[in-house]
Symmetry: C2
Subunit: 214 residues, 2 copies
DNA sequence: TAGATTGTTAATCGATTAACAATC
DNA sequence: TAGATTGTTAATCGATTAACAATC
């Protein structure tokens, strides 16, 4: 059954709602109104209500929203209640840092393996995980039901590797390579183009310096 | 003099134009029309022309755009022709990885220092740069005219540290801490919320699985 | 000159905000 | 019940796309 399309603008805001609701929950706060959330998060109450209502009515008129319930519902919408097996492809600086730094397990991800094509790295332990050669990827992905690949390899090989990952059965790619991947539209890609982000920051800094506005 | 406001939607697209134009330039291609660029980049020719015209006429009617000229102009708009002194605050996994992985120098950034409050890290060399104690930050920022801080510390201390950085004279923060900073509006903040990005990917994977559409 | 393609205005589309009736 | 606040429709705003006159 095909439900109505939710815009990516709304999806992008869900993790932030999730984060704030988690904080309220941890503070022991039980209920929150869209107006209160609006004050804390600096977005309009109207947008909050519109966003939540994309997924059905989570609130009660005259009362507001139950923090814990809303938190859990948004978690479900984001799919955090499901387990997702994940591998990191590219065990260089960034791949290693993500392996150590991201708390994958905390959000329902299962970090299954770390791959590289540099023989010097084979066997090295990172976060209790041995670096494996890329050749093992096809078998490993099928065998372990991997659905997410974190792509942290140089852009020269990223497009080709992404296409292979798709063949092996991956469902989504978290792409840190500074290039646009070429994969079928049923494969989900989330790009993290760090240098683009930094350029945007520089633009805004320079622009502010030039005319004191933004 | 205050020029007309350019929307962040447009700014966000500039680095991608810049990247594609750089590739065309490297291939030795001299001219490109909005339609050709549209085919390569999968955005409408109309949007391309609208975007460029926010900054004045870069093209020639009947001819198109000179690749090299356009590339350089967009670089200037993004402020890549100016030098920006930068420090990394937080020398953990992510801070170290960014120091090694980002080619700061390539885009006009000058990587000046790396700071942490963990004494075990003091003096360690990362990318020819010694990790310094956070206490040195106030003096260092003023002395070295630092305008960008890369914030790679845990979220618990990020808000307070950001406020300090502002006092010391920073102009922009590239924020990797998973929290919203509280700084004056003249300070530019670019957030990289990695776990938000990963959650969005999961949402899209699950949604596709559920109803075969996106 | 004729053809091509920009620059720019107008039309459309989508997202955000405002308003208010429904209802807890 | 009266007051509060949602859910939802309507109005507004902004961004994207289409169209075409200007012009190289």
């Amino acid at each position: 059954m095909e439900s109505k399309e939710i815009s990516q603008a709304v999806i992008s805001r869900l993790p932030r709602y999730f984060r704030y609701l988690g904080e309220l929950k941890d503070e022991g706060i039980e209920r929150v109104s869209s107006q209160e959330l609006s004050d804390i998060m600096k977005v309009t109450a109207s947008q909050i209500r519109q966003d939540f209502n994309n997924f059905g009515g989570f609130g009660q008129q005259g009362y507001g929203y139950k923090v814990e319930y809303l938190y859990e519902e948004i978690g479900k919408i984001l799919g955090l209640d499901k387990k997702h097996n994940l591998v990191i492809v590219g065990a260089g600086n960034l791949g290693q840092a993500l392996a150590n730094y991201m708390n994958f397990e905390r959000r329902g991800f299962i970090f299954k393996g770390l791959f590289d094509n540099n023989p010097e790295l084979f066997g090295r332990k990172i976060k209790d995980m041995t670096v494996r050669p890329m050749e093992e990827l096809p078998f490993f992905i099928r065998e372990n039901n991997i659905d997410i690949a974190v792509l942290t390899i140089p852009k020269t090989s990223a497009v080709a590797v992404a296409e292979e990952l798709v063949i092996y059965g991956i469902k989504g790619i978290w792409n840190f390579a500074h290039v646009d991947l070429n994969v079928p539209k049923e494969i989900q890609v989330e790009n993290v183009h760090l240098s683009d982000s930094l350029m945007k920051l520089v633009y805004n800094i320079n622009r502010y310096e030039q005319d004191g506005s933004i």
